[in-house]
């Protein structure tokens, strides 16, 4: 069988490769999306003191260490059966909101933006952050840098460092903030709200104003009817930091909401021998393969999922955008994967609003940011919404608080099955008998993948104009049949 | 595989100059028999013992390490043997997590007059290690390791570019 290999996947965090097998006619027979990396956190964290987990699990991902830091902090609180003071929880969520703004910004502008703003068939030389800047103005680059700078300033003020925060401990935080810092945080937050609105307007003008692009979003190739999950507060509004996880089926019916200790009633993970990463699925529905539908346990956890799984947004500007989103796309739930980029910007706005809301909370500068645990440590689960999906940390410790067992289900992992399906469908849709497989075709396959924002964004880096690319096609004997090159 | 019956442990012994090294001297001049498996390295004081020495010895092929010093209260430099004691106790705990049996690092206090006792301690240690078996740490050169850090040899030169 002929094979097309894309190795490595680029413009994401982490390693991945795609194998596309073609049948004798030249149509796609099958695709495999393999993850070639494993480091073993679930094993080597055993034996470590539980208060180190917010520090150790930071290193699972240096793009979203804040997510692991918070999930670990909440799990460690649960292990010690301690409820941190309100100021600590608000400070953690404030840090988290600023982080969300930064993270969603970098993904939209530098990772997804080029495909989206320039269009999928734009010349490679323009389909990068530079092209985006030229199209919409040099000012943009400066704004994106500014946004990242502000976000990381807040992370450092509350978390101690810009990357790999260090201030969460069981029972709360090691420090609070001063009024001076609070004023600065509020100011940066208000700027962030304006920037979020600007980004949504940009999306509206350039993407929604372009019929060809709207057709792509609404078309069938990037469409999957799957289940969706996302964390919601007690009013069923999207919340990134705390709440219960809402699960809805492809028709939008809520199957239930689970609290952190109940996650195992809902989620199980499958192993395939050709990849290091596992495939989570909904236990109550069951694994039926890499298929869509109500009877398939495949589910998504992305910004789109969170909006689908919730009843609305808790902040007013974001809520207005939420309503516009669904009325434009024909109701809930939305299954078009490319709409995830729009959903991401709505979350960006919500995060900025929440940033200001928390920064103006009367308790935010209180010195009461830690409560010493008094109970014996045993076991606990912490769940937050990482930008790429629901993140679950589950710890068991001995009576000294030293870890005896660890279970992690990490954001992008939730989406491994749907990403695989999206890649296959896009490959089948674009690579057919008679089609010359060129760079643009392969980019459309990669776009299926990028909508899920697999864990990395890169902001303001000026990308070179060329995209060097080589595709080698082998026949069944392994001999080279054709080599396609571009710019190399 | 090494035949354990013919296994001769290699043991590095860090001995302090004032008490325990003199004890070893005494054993020698008195022709006391004890096995030759311990290679002695003289330190001025057991307080000079850096855990790095122990780790380097084990990583380089030693099967065990012996540390000897003056009895508590008799240190030539007053209290430095207590430093050795604290380091030793902490090191053993760490080594246990590395899969190295506690018996492989031994601390013995011996005064300058205790030649016979020191000889006995060494004899006992050698047999204990013989029973335990070789350590064969994989970084040791004879087991295929290539040592700790290679020295860089290349001299990178930068091409000057237009300003």
């Amino acid at each position: 069988m002929q094979r097309i290999t894309i190795d490595p996947i680029t413009r994401l965090e982490g390693h991945g490769k795609i194998e596309i097998f073609l049948d004798a006619e030249g149509n796609v027979a099958n695709t495999y999306f393999q993850i070639p990396e494993l480091r073993g956190f679930e094993r080597f964290c055993v034996g470590r003191p539980v208060e180190e987990m917010p520090l150790l699990t930071n290193r699972i991902c240096g793009v979203c260490p804040e997510a692991h830091h918070m999930a670990a902090a909440k799990a460690a609180d649960a292990v010690y059966h301690v409820d941190p003071p309100p100021t600590a929880k608000k400070l953690r969520e404030l840090l988290y909101s600023a982080f969300y703004v930064t993270d969603h910004t970098t993904h939209f502008y530098a990772l997804a933006g080029p495909d989206f703003v320039m269009g999928p068939d734009a010349p490679v030389a323009e389909r990068n952050i530079l092209g985006v800047i030229h199209k919409v103005g040099l000012e943009i680059g400066g704004k994106v840098i500014q946004c990242r700078k502000y976000g990381h300033t807040v992370v450092e003020m509350i978390g101690g460092r810009k990357v790999h925060p260090c201030t969460s401990i069981p029972g709360g935080l090691t420090k609070g903030i001063t009024e001076e810092q609070r004023v600065e945080i509020e100011k940066m937050g208000r700027w962030a709200i304006e920037f979020a609105q600007f980004s949504l307007k940009l999306f509206n003008d350039i993407v929604l104003g372009n019929k060809a692009y709207v057709d792509l979003i609404l078309g069938d190739i990037y469409y999957h009817r799957t289940h969706y999950i996302g964390m919601v507060d007690e009013n069923n509004k999207v919340n990134f930091y705390d709440g219960k996880v809402s699960v809805v089926d492809p028709d939008g019916n809520r199957l239930g909401k689970y609290a952190p200790p109940e996650y195992r009633d809902w989620i199980a993970e499958r192993v395939e021998p050709w990849t290091y990463l596992k495939f989570p699925y909904l236990k109550k529905v069951g694994w039926k393969g890499f298929v869509d539908g109500k009877d398939s346990g495949v589910y998504c956890a992305t910004p789109l999922s969170r909006l689908n799984a919730a009843d609305g947004m808790a902040m007013p500007l974001a809520q207005a955008e939420y309503e516009k989103f669904y009325s434009t796309l024909g109701g809930k739930p939305v299954h078009q994967r490319l709409a995830t980029h729009w959903a991401r910007l709505i979350e960006l706005l919500y995060a900025a609003e929440r940033w200001v809301e928390l920064a103006t909370d009367p308790e935010i500068t209180s010195p009461d940011f830690h409560k010493v645990p008094t109970e014996k440590p045993t076991e606990g689960v912490g769940i937050v919404e990482a930008p790429r999906g629901t993140l679950t940390h589950h710890y068991w410790t001995d009576e000294r608080g030293v870890l005896t067992k660890v279970n992690l289900i990490v954001g992008t992992t939730n989406n491994y099955a749907p990403i695989s399906m999206s890649i296959k469908k896009a490959a089948e849709g674009f690579i057919k008998k008679g089609v010359v497989v060129n760079e643009g075709i392969l980019n459309r396959v990669e776009m299926a993948f990028r909508a899920y924002d697999p864990c990395f964004g890169c902001a303001t880096h000026s990308l070179p104009g060329q995209m060097p690319l080589q595709i080698t096609v082998h026949d069944a004997k392994g001999e080279v049949v054709e080599v396609l090159r571009q710019n190399c | 595989m090494t035949d354990q019956e013919h296994f001769e442990p290699v043991i590095i012994g860090f001995t302090c100059n004032w008490c325990s090294y003199r004890a070893a001297d005494l054993a020698g001049t008195a022709r006391m028999k004890y096995p030759p498996n311990v290679r002695l390295i003289r330190l001025m004081c057991s307080g000079r013992l850096d855990p790095t020495f122990v780790l380097k010895a084990l990583a380089s092929g030693a099967d065990a390490v012996l540390i000897t010093g003056c009895h508590p209260g008799e240190c030539h430099y007053l209290e430095q043997n207590y430093k050795a004691l604290r380091r030793y106790l902490l090191l053993r705990r760490t080594l246990a997590q590395m899969g190295i049996e506690p018996q492989r690092v031994k601390l013995v206090w011996a005064s300058a007059a205790e030649g016979a006792r020191l000889a006995q301690e060494i004899t006992t240690l050698v047999e204990e290690i013989r029973a335990l078996g070789p350590l064969h740490w994989p970084t040791a050169p004879e087991f295929g390791g290539n040592g700790h850090r290679p020295q860089p040899e290349i001299q990178p030169e930068l091409e000057e570019v237009a300003a």
Partner: protein
């Protein structure tokens, strides 16, 4: 003047990494434009679409500067280390993973079997057949491969020669900015690079020197877990308050951010200058502050350190003298240098991939 008028080439690659080093580079903010003005970025998987084959096609030593982060966990990481070494004039071990192994190096306390058995049989994993990843798998359509997982994680200089080391987890952005400035100046002949093998982007002392907390005579009768500290003193040395802080032996350069935020230094900047084994130096530092001469009392105080290997080798296990726990060395063979394929595991039947 350069011979051909083009900008010198730059690359950044991640092996077994987390992406934090990439973010730290981006956090130099506007200065990234200086990088762009002075270099042509030819390979940086996180940011642009050059593939492995493109690097293989480049002439040897055509990349002037490569920042290599991440540890050597599997065969692909090692192949890339050799490739980037060949293609680069200057190869920098960037970040703690490449320099001394960093936190994923803690896996060196476990065997491959233990790692696989943990990951592929967690409480939420549904794996009744006991499947494990196969380095070669016969799918119905063709052979699929994933890189071989090594028994012991290695540092970059344990597989290739390294020109410079830039430690930190991640290196702080102000240090990265300073190094960027230096390299650009050197390109223009306005500055000298340090001698090869140097550690760059760091201070020449320890974190204690940068820490503003007050230090008296450190004497500990008890180690305290940070969450148990009643009324922590924000101005007093953390180690003096009984918190196990690695400041005394950790390289300076970060600005002592964590102790200023109330958290103990965990040692992410690696060992101070001239230290052969980071953990050994920390053991000495901790042993010095224990205030007791009685063996039983010392043992009782040491009981307060619940995880010595983790405390002292948190970032540096792979780069230490012993490098890994004894059982961890066993892969398929006992040799560390070979590209062992790891544990032989029950081979999975070729599962027809239905429904795809």
């Amino acid at each position: 003047m350069s011979t051909n008028g083009t900008k010198p080439k730059f690359a950044m690659y991640w092996a077994a990494a987390c992406g934090g080093c990439e973010i730290a580079v981006l956090n130099i903010h506007e200065k990234i434009l200086d990088v762009d003005a002075n270099f042509e970025v030819v390979f940086w998987p996180v940011a642009m679409d050059a593939k492995y084959k493109d690097v293989e096609a480049m002439p040897d030593e055509s990349i002037t500067l490569t920042l290599f982060n991440g540890g050597i966990r599997n065969s692909e990481n090692e192949e890339m280390a050799h490739l980037m070494r060949r293609k680069s004039k200057i190869l920098v071990a960037f970040g703690s993973c490449a320099c001394e192994g960093c936190i994923p190096g803690l896996a060196n306390l476990s065997t491959v079997q233990e790692i696989f058995d943990t990951v592929y049989a967690t409480v939420s994993t549904d794996n009744p057949q006991g499947l494990r990843p196969q380095f070669h798998f016969a799918a119905p359509e063709g052979e699929l491969r994933i890189p071989a997982f090594y028994p012991v994680l290695k540092t970059l200089d344990q597989v290739v020669k390294v020109d410079y080391y830039m430690p930190g987890c991640p290196p702080e952005s102000h240090q990265i900015a300073a190094v960027v400035d230096l390299v650009i100046k050197a390109l223009h002949g306005e500055a000298q690079l340090p001698p090869p093998g140097a550690v760059i982007g760091v201070g020449n002392s320890t974190v204690c020197d940068e820490c503003p907390r007050k230090r008296n005579e450190k004497t500990i009768k008890q180690f305290v877990r940070i969450q148990d500290l009643q009324a922590p003193d924000p101005a007093l040395c953390l180690l003096e308050q009984g918190i196990p802080c690695n400041g005394p032996a950790t390289r300076s350069g970060c600005g002592a951010l964590c102790p200023q935020a109330g958290a103990q230094c965990i040692g992410c900047y690696g060992p101070a200058e001239g230290v052969l084994d980071f953990g050994a130096r920390l053991m000495t530092a901790f042993a010095s502050v224990i205030d007791s001469q009685d063996p039983d009392e010392i043992e009782r105080i040491l009981d307060g350190l619940v995880d010595p290997a983790g405390q002292f080798y948190r970032f540096s296990l792979a780069g230490s003298l012993l490098r890994a726990a004894k059982p961890a060395w066993k892969g398929n063979g006992t040799r560390d240098n070979g590209r062992t394929e790891g544990t032989r595991v029950p081979s999975a039947p070729a599962v027809p991939v239905k429904g795809r």
